[in-house]
Structure formats: C-alpha cells, structure tokens
Symmetry: C2
Subunit: 256 residues, 2 copies
C-alpha cells in the first residue's frame, strides 16, 4: 500500500531533514518532498554529512527525496492535503487530531487518492496562505503551555499514528518464549502440594481461617498468569523448602 | 492528577536528558528520575548548558529531576513498573503497546497507585535484569526493519499516549472563528439565486438535465460545510459575476 507524502516547507536545518527521514523510516513512511530549503540543494559536503548523520541510516528516504522550488509544485499531484499547525488560525478549517486524521488518510489512500501532509518551517510553521492550500488541518493535542515540537518530532507523531493504522499488534499479550500458559489442573496440583505441605507444618492454626487463606493464595497464584515452566519451577522451590529431594511428579523438577 | 514517573536508566548523553525533559513538558509529564548517568552530577558548566539548550525551556523538569545511584532506589516507592524495550526478550513478560499501557496507567494512578516507566541506555537499552524488575513491558509498534528510536523520541511517544488519556479534544471539528455554520435556509436561498441567474443566462440548455445539475451543484455546496459568512461572500461573488451592484438581500454583500 502506498502511504502519505511528507512535505517539509522551507526547512531551515539539515539536521532536521535528516531526523525527519529517520522518523519516517521508523514509521514506514517512504516519500519525502522538500520545498525550498534554506540551504541550497544539492547540499555541500559538510551539510550533506550533517544531514546523513542525523538520519541514522535512513539514507533511502533522503536519496529518493524530491526537491521543489515552490509549494504549489510540491502539491500538484495530490488529491487531499493536510497542514500541520499548532496554533489556532482565524481561518475556517477542518481541524483533526492525528488519531482521527491518519485512519482517514489510510481510507483515502485505499480509495486510490494520493494524500500529503505539510510541515512548516522550524521557527514560524506554515503561513496562512500555505494552510489555505490544505483541505484539512492537523493539530496534535499536547500541553497547551508547552506545545512547540521539534520538526522531526511532529513528523514522528504523525508517522506513529500512520503506522498504527497499518499494524495489528495486540494491545496486550503475554510473551512466553518456548513454554505455554499453565492449565487449571496444573495450578490446582501445585496448590494441592503447597496446602498439604503447609498442613503438615501446622500453617493453618485456626481451621476456620483455612478457606480465606486458600482463596487468597489461589487468587494470587492465578493472577500471576503462570506458564507451565513457571509452575514446574515453583514445584522445585516447594520441594527445596520442605527438604524433599525430588517432587512426586516425574515431570517436575524446576528449570534451574 | 499525578502522572507516571519517567526513569532514565544510565543515560549517556546530556542532550538526550534535555530533550527528554522537553518531550515530557510537551506531554504534561512532570516527574523525572535519572539513574547513574554517564556524566556525573551535578554536571559541569559545559554539560549543564548543553542539557539546558536541548531542553528548549523545560527547566522545571530538570531542576526537579531526582538522581539515584542504583535502579532499585529509583523504583523503591513505585507500585507498578513498566519497562520500555524494542527487542523481544526470552523472558516471560506482559507486553503492551503504548496505546493499551497508558490508559491502564491512568487507571492505576486514579486508583492511588504510583507508577513509573523505565527507559534504557541509548545504545543498549535496558538489561534483562532491569526488565525483570518491571511488572510489564511496553513495546512501541514501529517498522521492524528500522525500529531503533532516539531516547527522547521513545519518551515522546509514551508521553503522547499519556496526554491523549488526559485530553478530550474532539477528533474532528470545524473551526470557524467568529462566524457559525450556515443553515439549510441560507444554502437554499443562495442556490435559488444561483439557479435563477443561470436560468436567465441559458445555462440549462436541455431542461431534462436540470434535476441532475441541480443535485450536483447543491451537493457540492453542502459538502463544503459553508459558514454563514462564506455564504454571504458567495452572494457577493454571484452579484459581481452577473453585474449586479448589490444583491437583493440587505444583509448580504460579501465580506471583502
């Protein structure tokens, strides 16, 4: 699938162009357009090296970046254009958060549109005349008392939301390497051994407290979401604590 | 409401500490803890100035930052600890995306817990022994072919998700300064004038095309979500195009 075009309007620092490329690469964005940068292109050796160092290896994006003398040329082939801007302008505008804008962009792209996102100069952002070229504005909700972002960080946050539209990592997962979650039977068997050992050692001084204590211990063990391997380790721990060389279950013995 | 504590474990570059403070300020995070930084604290003048310059004015956070010699001291008062890590480790771990982890953090904090997020060294991240201190791991879904983030950018993405949990900016809104959305009646009145003017000038050559053309023009006008001010402007445009000095409606005359 193609992706939104990132358009830097008159960027001032080559380091920020490099860091923008890095942020784009982090987020699997590939197409960079640069409009009238302060340092004339092709860059001299020193500027080129500074940009490359800041990009931390996102060379492909910089090598494929396209340079434009004017903004209308850079926008010419786009069907829908977003302008990023922190401040409120007097103009009438559709204002979107990145969380709303990027899924919308993904839908437009799936529908065959070519979309782009404009980012303004480091100091002064986009001018009103440039924002007027856009179909919609993106404003990133951030601390209103301190909302100024570095250029590449603004690109990163927009790119991050783009990547989330393309990605289906589960919000929460239990990573467990080569083992698997324990079964209820395995929990019960371990708890049975534990309770028996505690019983033999007089842990339950008042018999009427046993149900409460049982619930409490079982509850904690289940909340830990143990793996099968971990249950075996705890069998080993229990065996060691009660001075049993080897637990009754042949498969058990802990893992270390 | 209090907020998650940001914990930098053995950061190497003072610039990254400064940029972390800036990212935290952007996201209304206030509490920074620094564990055994490479450059000894208090910093010498040169390092201090470089850190302050990188923070772009987030001085409060740096002045209130707390220094710890060891990680256990930095974590001692926390109830729930998250470790950020890009790579998969062999350990069994709860792995969350920031989008899932930060709302969960907000709930914990509302429930009275003190939570913290650990970020590792620039080059090598957190060690496995440090991740083992955490209750859960946060992995930011990013381009697997290029997922290495600058330290401050990782803090920014986590902070950004934090700020979104605390913020209720509408995903999409039509900002319209001092005017208001046009009413259906105002649309209809304008379209009526337009159709009459077109009629008088023989626009509808084939009468059977009129309904299609009307629908198409009305549809486009309504899709633009005009403001009352914009409708008046278009009345002025129409008056100018048909050579009418002043439109029939007294309230109309365009706004420029």
């Amino acid at each position: 699938m193609s992706c939104p075009v990132i358009i830097l309007v008159e960027p001032q620092l080559v380091e920020n162009i490099g860091m923008t490329a890095r942020a784009m690469m982090n987020c699997a964005l590939t197409e960079l357009r640069i409009v009238n940068p302060r340092d004339p292109w092709p860059l001299g050796d020193v500027h080129h090296q500074r940009m490359m160092a800041a990009s931390s290896g996102a060379d492909d994006i910089l090598q494929n970046a396209k340079l434009y003398a004017t903004l209308p040329e850079a926008l010419a082939d786009l069907n829908y254009i977003y302008a990023t801007a922190a401040r409120t302008h007097d103009m009438t505008n559709r204002i979107l958060t990145p969380r709303t804008a990027l899924p919308e962009m993904a839908e437009r792209i799936q529908g065959g549109q070519k979309v782009g996102v404009m980012f303004g100069r480091e100091r002064t952002g986009l001018y009103n005349d440039e924002i007027a070229f856009a179909n919609a504005k993106i404003t990133i909700p951030l601390n209103p008392a301190f909302s100024s972002l570095n250029l590449a960080q603004a690109v990163l946050l927009v790119g991050y939301e783009w990547y989330q539209t393309q990605n289906n990592t589960p919000g929460s997962q239990l990573h467990m390497g080569h083992t698997r979650p324990a079964t209820h039977e395995e929990y019960l068997y371990f708890y049975g051994r534990l309770e028996k050992a505690l019983d033999e050692r007089g842990f339950f001084v008042a018999e009427d407290m046993r149900p409460t204590m049982t619930r409490s211990l079982q509850n904690m063990l289940q909340r830990a979401e143990m793996t099968e391997q971990e249950v075996r380790t705890w069998h080993g721990v229990l065996s060691a604590l009660i001075g049993q060389r080897r637990a009754p279950d042949a498969g058990e013995n802990g893992d270390r």
